[in-house]
């Protein structure tokens, strides 16, 4: 399969990327690692006229400890997150989850910013960003702005990014509670999660339980009210509207969410 024709443009700097995007308007799309976008383009689910390759902007690839938070450049690859000593010490959830994205080849190309900007509810890192209360930094023609992860995912493959805006950094506060877990249920290692559950302290997020990555608000409320893991997990599917597809029925996804949440909360508690 070959994508429909498009014009390839390569950005050498963030400013150049923004200029190219402004010129392309609604017909342009940023290309980072391309491991979410190119497969969609082959299937004609995405047909951008202009691809703006930001993959060489080395200035957007970093993991740094800053005052009270970890700053991750949007072009940091899954492979680099997986092997980061800083993340292993400070945010083991992110390093672990990044190491379960796709397969080694995918992790050599795919980036955290690309995964978040793609906004796929079946991807792992959007839910991880939600559970970690991340703040996303976007650059546009009129400057930078910060968007809370909880405000970022707005619909099916839709995010709060405006046309031409470029996700540049992910800021993750140091977790208040250390316990974490990521439970990912797949048929094959390389598949998207049929359901995934991410826990950091009392914050719980769900993978592939609706059209948008979401926090499990019912579970969080129960935990805050003092419920134990098993009782809190019973609320995992509340407010979710998972699809039925070849992977699983809606009822099975709801069942999985409850089971995986119970496991995740138990594992997180064991790491506190």
């Amino acid at each position: 399969m070959i994508p429909a024709p498009f014009f390839y443009r390569r950005a050498g700097t963030v400013e150049e990327a923004l200029d190219l995007a402004a010129g392309a308007g609604d017909d342009g799309k940023y290309l980072a690692g391309g491991h979410s976008l190119l497969p969609l383009m082959k299937l004609r689910f995405a047909v951008p006229e202009v691809l703006i390759d930001i993959g060489r902007l080395a200035e957007l690839s970093y993991i740094r400890a800053e005052d009270g938070h970890i700053a991750v450049g949007a072009l940091t690859r899954h492979h680099d997150l997986e092997h980061s000593e800083l993340l292993a010490a400070e945010l083991p959830l992110l390093a672990h989850a990044a190491g379960l994205v796709g397969d080694p080849q995918v992790r050599h190309r795919g980036t955290i910013g690309g995964s978040l900007a793609h906004g796929d509810a079946a991807s792992d890192l959007p839910a991880v960003a939600l559970a970690l209360d991340a703040t996303l930094v976007a650059r546009g023609p009129s400057g930078s702005r910060e968007i809370a992860a909880t405000e970022f995912f707005s619909g099916l493959f839709e995010t709060a990014l405006e046309p031409g805006e470029l996700l540049t950094e992910i800021r993750i506060p140091k977790p208040a509670q250390r316990g974490w877990s990521f439970q990912k249920f797949t048929k094959r290692a390389i598949d998207w999660a049929i359901v995934g559950v991410v826990v950091q302290g009392g914050q719980v997020a769900l993978v592939n339980m609706g059209s948008v990555p979401m926090r499990a608000a019912g579970v969080e409320r129960a935990l805050a009210a003092g419920a134990g893991p098993a009782d809190a997990a019973a609320h995992a599917a509340e407010g979710a509207s998972p699809v039925a597809d070849l992977g699983a029925s809606t009822a099975y996804r709801e069942h999985l969410a409850r089971v995986l949440t119970a496991r995740a909360l138990a594992e997180a508690a064991s790491r506190n």
């Binding site: 024709p5 397969d103 080694p104 050599h108 290692a189 390389i190």
Partner: protein, 160 residues
């Protein structure tokens, strides 16, 4: 657009469509057909090559993204004197193939795996090859082949 990609140390320059995939560039512009195209959906790993020494699925990389970079395919594994790479020797000695379609991709994934982890456990080999499917399901001998390559100790560093 014009791209120039080093393929197995040979500079290959071509005027190509912007949408050309690296897998097609390697097969058609560079004329190297060991790299197979299997699923075309980033799943099977048959098209795995090294891009700057790291395994990638060349059906999901644009030739334009590899412009100016170094690609290594299965044909580039043997030394200039014709001596096989340790991974090739391992696949030969352990019969790490059945029909052979997945083999070039398996070998390139193995080279990348051993470059990152020269002394893997059996489990690490299995998880390290999770991006490559063998529809003959000949995984046991493939894993033995990679472990043999690691034991022979000429890890992939020289190819990366």
């Amino acid at each position: 657009m014009k791209v120039a990609i080093s393929v197995n140390g040979r500079q290959v320059e071509a005027e190509v469509e912007d949408r050309l995939l690296l897998a097609h560039f390697v097969r058609e512009q560079a004329g190297l057909t060991a790299t197979n195209i299997g699923c075309d959906t980033t799943s099977c790993g048959a098209c795995t090559v090294l891009l700057d020494g790291e395994s990638v699925k060349s059906c999901t990389v644009l030739a334009a993204q590899a412009d100016g970079h170094e690609v290594t395919t299965c044909e580039g594994l043997a030394g200039a004197d014709g001596r096989w790479h340790a991974v090739q020797q391992g696949f030969h000695a352990e019969h790490g193939l059945q029909c052979g379609f997945c083999t070039p991709g398996m070998m390139m994934a193995a080279v990348s795996l051993l470059a990152e982890n020269p002394d893997p456990t059996e489990e690490e080999v299995r998880t390290g090859l999770e991006g490559n499917l063998c529809r003959c399901t000949g995984y046991h001998n493939i894993v033995r082949a990679v472990l043999a390559a690691a034991r022979d100790g000429q890890p992939a560093a020289e190819a990366s």
